[in-house]
């Protein structure tokens, strides 16, 4: 190996010209960059063990977009190649100017969220890692819509803060904080993690509870609360314990000895709802009695201890493996613990710009396209598999996937193989359409014609209903037919072909037909066309047309002849 690569993530905030700022417009989720909130990382020195400076061997690279103003990825040419089995140790001096918080990291008043605060080495992938044929670096800049990808390692970190500050961090403290020369010194240690984050504030209210269950040998849950939420301790602890217990049962034992939950102040909301190994952040403490969003966020971020933390997928390239899977787990636990059931039909309706789930995160460029695809569409893809194979098989699939790839870097096709092994059949068509492709399901009642076959005292009507498939495939499509006399009839369409015609003979004409009347096809994002009436009262139609025409005519007539 002739070169090393490091992510200098804070440089994303160095100017408005960086790739992150150009793509995000200085806004992430609902938080905007505070004025003059820039941040950056300056490398002051880099030496090998024998004291050789590498400072003249550095170069910023921009493999994704060639934006030379972007300095979030750095290449270091080594003085001599590192051969297989050899190692190299570098020491670095660097200064970080944390940005003001709007995107995950930074400062808000005296609150500090130090995520991505050190030059983080890129992932060097041996052949066969994540399906690649030859070994090499996985290199990406920091983007507006993208999180991270890193390899597992050991961290030993000493943090000096002013005396009145409290520090929360990944891993565990090897000794109690020491007061030295007017400073407080913390020493943390963490292994089998792929990132190290810490947070500090003089205002934190700290609470700690031990937790163990049949699946969890023993964890200290540490809560670092903004004072605005000081009375909500129990809610945080309850959610955290439920998450640790059930996620450990479903996806494997939580292997670390600590879990820290940081609740940022309102101004630091941009740092909220974020996952780091063994440290998560809730959303900013604003409301004194927030709704279930509080529990939902905590549960979601703890879910990331699996889908991100232990299953360290590449968030640049396959964000849904983290967000979609975590959202799926979150919904499941929210329903079980709090009885909160998400309205999946409404959520799927919002997905107006479906895109492949294995697309690079920054290529979701339309408004909300990233979130709607990797969170919502991703979890719906899993929910649909669950509906198809049944809950118990789905639980096995998830247990196998999380077991096999624990402390690995799984990909979408790894997951597909697990599904195929567990069900004993090919899922290629499903994955091609809904995961690698951008399909949604869309079944519609296209046309209804009613013919009178027999008059008299025993009339007979033939109603012909055309159902069409405008999106991806689906196995069994339920259809509900309702006749004018109130009689109902249910049928199932096998979904083969582009459309199907149902001919029904009955003593009353059809009133309306509806595909998927219970909205069980979660990937169907267009519901208006599920329903069609056979006809309507002519007078009612005339009144509507006439009124709307009159309205438009009045508007036009007020400005023109």
């Amino acid at each position: 190996m002739n070169e090393l690569y490091f992510h200098l993530y804070p440089n994303a905030f160095a100017s408005m010209e960086t790739t992150f700022m150009k793509e995000s417009g200085g806004k992430l989720r609902n938080d905007s960059m505070p004025s003059n909130g820039y941040g950056s990382m300056t490398l002051k020195g880099m030496k090998t063990e024998n004291g050789l400076s590498l400072m003249n061997r550095l170069e910023y690279v921009q493999p994704d977009d060639g934006n030379i103003k972007d300095k979030t990825l750095m290449k270091v040419r080594l003085p001599r190649p590192v051969k297989g089995g050899e190692s190299i140790t570098l020491s670095m001096q660097y200064e970080v100017q944390l940005p003001k918080i709007f995107a995950r990291m930074g400062t808000a008043g005296n609150f500090v969220m130090a995520g991505q605060w050190f030059p983080k080495i890129s992932v060097y992938e041996p052949a066969n890692t994540r399906g690649r044929s030859t070994e090499g670096w996985n290199l990406h800049q920091y983007h507006g819509n993208s999180e991270f990808y890193a390899d597992f390692g050991i961290y030993s970190v000493r943090i000096h803060v002013p005396k009145n500050y409290t520090v929360a961090a990944t891993g565990f403290p090897v000794q109690p904080a020491q007061n030295k020369n007017g400073e407080k010194v913390y020493q943390f240690y963490a292994d089998d993690v792929h990132d190290f984050a810490w947070s500090a504030s003089p205002d934190f209210i700290v609470a700690e509870e031990p937790f163990s269950s049949a699946e969890v040998p023993g964890v200290r849950i540490k809560l670092y609360l903004d004072p605005a939420h000081k009375d909500l301790k129990e809610r945080y602890f309850y959610a955290a314990k439920a998450a640790l217990k059930y996620f450990s049962r479903w996806y494997g034992t939580y292997p670390y000895s600590t879990l820290s939950i940081v609740v940022p102040p309102e101004a630091g909301n941009g740092a909220g709802g974020m996952e780091y190994p063994t440290l998560v952040t809730a959303f900013g403490a604003k409301d004194e009695s927030p709704g279930y969003d509080l529990e939902r966020t905590v549960i979601h971020e703890i879910g990331h201890q699996y889908f991100y933390g232990m299953l360290a997928s590449n968030e640049f390239e396959e964000a849904w493996l983290d967000e979609g899977f975590t959202s799926y787990a979150e919904d499941k636990l929210m329903e079980q613990e709090y009885g909160v059931i998400p309205s999946l039909p409404v959520q799927s309706t919002l997905i107006s710009t479906p895109a492949p789930l294995t697309q690079d995160a920054w290529k979701y460029t339309l408004p909300n396209q990233y979130a709607l695809n990797v969170y919502y569409r991703g979890k719906m893809v899993l929910k649909t598999i669950e509906q198809s194979v049944g809950k118990s098989t789905m639980n096995k699939i998830m247990a196998r996937y999380t077991g096999k790839y624990r402390f690995g870097h799984p990909t979408t096709s790894d997951f597909q193989k697990i599904v195929e092994q567990a069900t004993g059949k090919s899922w290629k068509s499903y994955f091609d359409q809904y995961v690698y492709g951008e399909q949604m399901a869309d079944f519609a009642v296209d046309q209804i014609t009613v013919q009178k076959k027999k008059s008299g005292s025993n009339p007979l009507f033939e109603s012909a209903i055309t159902i069409s498939k405008n999106g991806g495939n689906y196995d069994k499509i339920p259809i509900l037919f309702t006749f004018k006399d109130g009689h109902k009839l249910k049928k199932i369409w096998d979904g083969s072909g582009k459309s199907a015609v149902f001919k029904l003979q009955y003593t009353s004409p059809l009133a309306w037909a509806m595909v998927d009347p219970s909205y069980n096809i979660v990937l169907d994002n267009k519901h208006m066309n599920n329903y069609l009436k056979a006809d309507m009262d002519k007078d009612v139609l005339f009144r509507w047309n006439e009124s709307i025409t009159k309205l438009i005519e009045t508007l036009l007539g007020s400005l023109s002849w």
Partner: protein, 219 residues
């Protein structure tokens, strides 16, 4: 006053061919608009789930309808057609207006004949400028009113009673529009009769009460 009204009706009778032209003009637009509305509204009504088969049905219908306004290409096509009609008719309007006013003017002078198209040619362009001024004046309050009305619209989608909050704004805008229209109309009289815009504007202002009265009666 009664004589003026009687004269007005007499002018209407004398210019009857103009009425026929405008009647046909309105009839064609009306028919076209009705068909357009029908082609859009009927499919939507046929898909409105009433009674709702599922408790979510109507909510989903409204959400998708709202999203369709910003995302659906068919909806966009209809909006463009309506906008096109609006612009086209607004461009025609000054010429029609010029024809009518010139006809009235010539008749007042005691002349008889088909002055409508002559007026369009002779005064169309200058009346067009009046209309541009009128449109700008009419549109100006939008800068303050539209953000407020948008807010009302969004809140009204949740609770329809809240639509009432928009009524004062709309009424004030319509009233303002009426005044601007009348004032400019009198200036156009002045322009076409050659008696000067300011003097006819003054006549319009002095007689504003009877004018408003007649307007209300005719409506």
């Amino acid at each position: 006053m009664r004589t003026y009204i009687a004269n007005g009706w007499k002018s209407v009778k004398d210019q009857f061919y103009v009425i026929i032209i405008l009647f046909l003009y309105q009839l064609l637009w009306g028919y076209f608009l009705y068909r357009l509305v029908e082609s859009a509204v009927v499919p939507l009504l046929m898909r409105y789930p009433d009674p709702p088969p599922n408790q979510l049905s109507q909510a989903l219908y409204y959400i998708e309808a709202q999203m369709g306004l910003s995302e659906n290409s068919t909806v966009h096509a209809y909006l463009w057609i309506l906008l096109g009609i609006g612009v086209f008719r607004m461009l025609l309007t000054p010429f029609i207006q010029a024809g009518i006013l010139y006809g009235l003017q010539q008749e007042y002078k005691g002349l008889r004949g088909l002055f409508f198209f002559q007026g369009m040619r002779r005064y169309g362009k200058s009346i067009f400028i009046f209309h541009i001024v009128e449109w700008i004046l009419l549109a100006a309050p939008a800068y303050w009113l539209l953000p407020r009305l948008y807010h009302v619209l969004i809140s009204g989608l949740q609770s329809q009673l809240l639509f009432l909050n928009g009524v004062p704004y709309v009424v004030a805008w319509l009233l303002y529009g009426y005044i601007v229209h009348q004032l400019l109309l009198y200036m156009q009289f002045g322009k076409i009769s050659g008696s000067g815009m300011v003097s006819s504007l003054w006549i319009g202002i002095c007689n504003s009460l009877p004018i408003i009265g007649i307007s209300i009666c005719l409506e």
